[in-house]
Amino acid sequence: MASGIKDRVAILGMGCAKFGERWDADAETLMVEAFQECIADAGIDVSEIGAAWLGVGFDAQNIGPSGIPLAMALRLPNIAVTKVENYCASGTESFRGAVYAVASGACDIALAMGVEKLKDTGYGGLPVRTRGTAYDMVNVTGSAPGFFAQLASAYRAKHGVAPEELKRAMAHVSVKSHANGAKNPKAHLRKAITEEQALAAPMIAAPLGLFDCCGVSDGAACAIVTTPEIAKALGKTDLVTVKALQLSVSNGWELQGAGWDGSYFHTTRIAAHKAYAEAGITDPRRQLSLMEVHDCFSITELVTMEDLGVSPEGGAVKDVLDGVFDADGQIPCQIDGGLKCFGHPIGASGLRMIYENYLQLLGRAGERQRQQQPVFGLSHNLGGMPNQNVSAVAIVGMQGA
């Protein structure tokens, strides 16, 4: 088995645009906003970037095809730019492209950009779109909340959880994230909410109410990566390195096969297992300092706690209600507010998660900084739907950790 890329790539700089309903900005503006912060942080000139990857989920909605929009927005010096799309995991996918390019020695410095301009559709929620000619003929054209809501039905049936109890744990997930997002100037939604508000919200897709769903917003996030040696040569001292980067993609077993019960993410379990092995983590509940998971919906975050191995199977409801994942808990989850408060500009989200872990590791997270020095920050970026998805797990940490 391959030995992995632990500590072979360092993050030189990162940037993140202000997420939100950016009526003032198009995709180009958002990319430049994230990039300016990122390159200033990296302390290099644009001419030093050897290759770039662009992650976008809904290209028909904003930038259009190819890597050209990134090259044009940043006026990159005719370097290779590749656009990647892997459902909502596109952000981490763009990071993976840049990191692998550096790890392979193909280039010294690489850039990953994730962007999405979703608020040009005229309506709330993610745009309705085709999933391909063959798929559309025999599958349901549902909404994202509708697909993820089904987790709750299966989870209740499997673990014998009362609907009210699960709903309360889901509410706690959102209340916690809103409390965190309120402290983050780059978050879209910055108001704390109460459990009562979450429980009383209008139903979107049963049993997911409005506050069980993340927002939909515009945003961009960016990373510049290089080797630890080059980073040091450029004068960097505290290095955040990539400990693990793993992706697992459904092959149709959940959708068409037999055995999956609908209550968890098969792929996340595989990606997490591989990522822990790559990072040398043996007890994630004790070793992980921070988690940024794909909380597109409260129920997704809840079951993901089990899929990542930080809660025992069937134990996430208790852990959530016990506050294990609150900002002052054992392993804070979404200390930046998560998708819940940032919203989910598809291509940007995976990089936004890594950005938060990067800031936290360097002690640069301001008011929301975790007091105990973090060691490993995990981000989990999920694309698709429970029965057919792309699950990406990235772990970053201080060099030598």
């Binding site: 559709t121 005229g122 309506y123 929620g125 309705v128 779109r129 085709t130 000619t133 063959a134 003929m137 025999v138 599958n139 349901v140 054209t141 549902g142 909404s143 909340p145 509708g146 697909f147 809501a149 089904q150 987790l151 039905s153 299966a154 209740r156 049936a157 139903m203 979107i204 897709a205 049963a206 997911l208 092959n251 149709g252 077993w253 959708l255 068409q256 096969g257 037999a258 019960d261 609908g262 429970p386 029965n387």
Partner: protein
């Protein structure tokens, strides 16, 4: 012996309450109050004459080898397609072999009985077994009498030659007269009808009795010996008056289901016949009358096996599976009479790729999956490589029809965000008892019906309509299990 081998029917679950319709129109057409009694069958937004026909045909063919059907005839005056054979769509949905003849019949309220007579005559001529289906989704102008009187339903009869049949075909008689009680021209949305008194006195009262007498004389049956008079005229007292004029005793005129179903146009005589066969005793004489630009009369004699011809739910079973619908606005929307704001999500382009539909027609239209001949793994849809995680066998899958198999709900939601003409959109994953799973929309459900583990059966429905190009996309939905144990056992054969 030539006759009816099997029969079936289908009635949509919703029953529009006539009082609600009359109340809505009372300000404008107070006279409709006289028709405000009872309820009428109301197709869902996702049902049309073809889907109604398919369900009736499946009901009729419960437990029978479909390869025996040599010819499929579909009669309707509400065919969804003018030029794409509607019977051909039904043939695909029923997964009949390609070597079957199909034919659409229409153009008159008499189309159903004419098709049935033709089917019986063809069988007599050695054509093999004919599946004769009549289906109607009545399109009525709001505030018209037809809106209250009509109903949406279908019946299917398998006819042919056999040693024993449910009802023996004795003979038929037809007269054709261009008596224009109503008409609907090419491109017109609604019927245009003439004064009811004239239709009754010059039409029904003069044309039908003469035809009935001629039919009975032809087969040598005395009017007084008729045991069941099956005519579906929606006008009060007309069926009784016609029977009387033909010399048939008043007591044998069967209730035309006016209060519980409504008049399903050209399907109505066949529906009444299918229902009569449920309880017909050996030897009973049944007279079936179809009226429209003339008159068709069929004379049949029930055999000892008449009740056995109904193998599925039958008319009575479907009538019992009902949900009262008190919301007239919903009826208007389902039928496209009220153009409500549907939201931008409804703008999603539903263009169908006809090439892909043709390639995948067995999966899409007949819900045929694949079964790996090596491992037995069942999956939907078929694929080049098996989904079996332990044996990715290549090219080993044989056709495996799933449409008639029981499944259970694995996951579910009620989606209020996605566009549906009937929100919320219920959907989820189901697993077939004998293997195979799929994500599917749930039809004919209320919130309480959708729970993990609940048994469901598949129904052929409209998936979406491409309004831009006028193309209807069909697929299958899961509905709560409706089959009683005996019929389920037969279906499993």
């Amino acid at each position: 012996m030539i006759g009816i081998i099997a029969c079936g029917a289908y009635v949509p679950r919703l029953r529009l309450q006539r009082q609600a319709v009359a109340d809505a129109h009372a300000w404008f057409a107070p006279g409709l109050r006289g028709l405000a009694r009872g309820e009428r069958a109301m197709a869902g937004w996702d049902e049309d004459a073809v889907t109604l026909a398919v369900e009736a045909a499946r009901d009729c063919l419960t437990g029978l080898d479909r390869a025996r059907v040599g010819r499929l005839v579909l009669a309707s005056t509400s065919h969804p397609y003018l030029d794409r054979q509607n019977a051909g769509i039904a043939k695909e949905a029923l997964n009949l072999p390609d070597a079957v003849a199909t034919l659409d019949v229409g153009g008159s309220q008499r189309a159903g009985t004419s098709a049935l007579i033709d089917a019986l005559q063809a069988a007599r001529g050695g054509a093999g077994e004919v599946l004769c289906v009549a289906a109607e989704k009545r399109r009525a102008q709001p505030a018209s009498e037809l809106e209250l009187v009509g109903g949406d339903a279908a019946a299917a009869l398998l006819v042919g030659e056999a040693d024993e049949v449910g009802a023996e075909f004795l003979g038929a008689h037809s007269v054709s007269i261009d008596f224009v009680d109503h008409f609907r021209a090419e491109g017109s949305e609604f019927d245009y009808g003439w004064e009811a008194r004239w239709v009754r006195d010059e039409g029904y009262a003069k044309i039908a009795p003469a035809a009935i007498k001629a039919a009975l004389a032809k087969v040598g049956v005395a009017p007084a010996d008729v045991d069941a008079f099956l005519m579906g005229a929606p006008m009060r007292g007309v069926n009784e008056a016609v029977a009387k004029a033909a010399g048939i005793p008043a007591g044998v005129v069967r209730e035309p289901l006016a209060q519980v179903l409504g008049e399903a146009g050209t399907a109505q005589p066949l529906i009444l016949l299918a229902q009569a066969l449920e309880t017909a005793k050996a030897g009973e004489i049944l007279v079936v009358v179809g009226f429209g630009q003339g008159c068709d009369v069929l004379v049949l004699r029930a055999r000892a096996s008449a009740a056995g011809a109904m193998r599925g739910l039958g008319v009575s079973g479907w009538l019992a599976r009902r949900k009262p619908e008190p919301n007239y606005i919903k009826y208007l929307c389902f039928n496209g009479h009220l153009d409500i704001e549907r939201g931008m999500r409804a703008e999603f382009d539903q263009k169908a790729a006809l090439t892909a539909l043709y390639r995948s027609r067995k999966a899409v239209m007949a819900l045929v999956g694949g079964r790996c001949t090596k491992t037995g793994t069942v999956q939907f849809p078929k694929s080049p490589i098996s989904v079996n995680q332990n044996d990715r066998a290549i090219g080993t899958q044989e056709d495996y029809p799933l449409a008639d198999r029981l499944a259970r709900i694995l996951t579910h939601t009620a989606d209020s965000l996605t566009f549906s003409p009937d929100p919320p959109c219920y959907y989820g994953a189901i697993e077939f008892e004998e293997g195979g799973r799929m994500t599917v929309e749930f039809g004919d459900v209320d919130a309480d019906d959708v729970v993990v583990g609940a048994p469901v059966r598949m129904m052929f429905r409209i998936k979406a309509v491409d309004d831009n190009r006028g193309f209807t996309k069909y697929f299958w939905k899961a509905v709560p299990d409706y089959l009683p144990a005996a019929a389920a056992a037969m279906a499993a054969q």
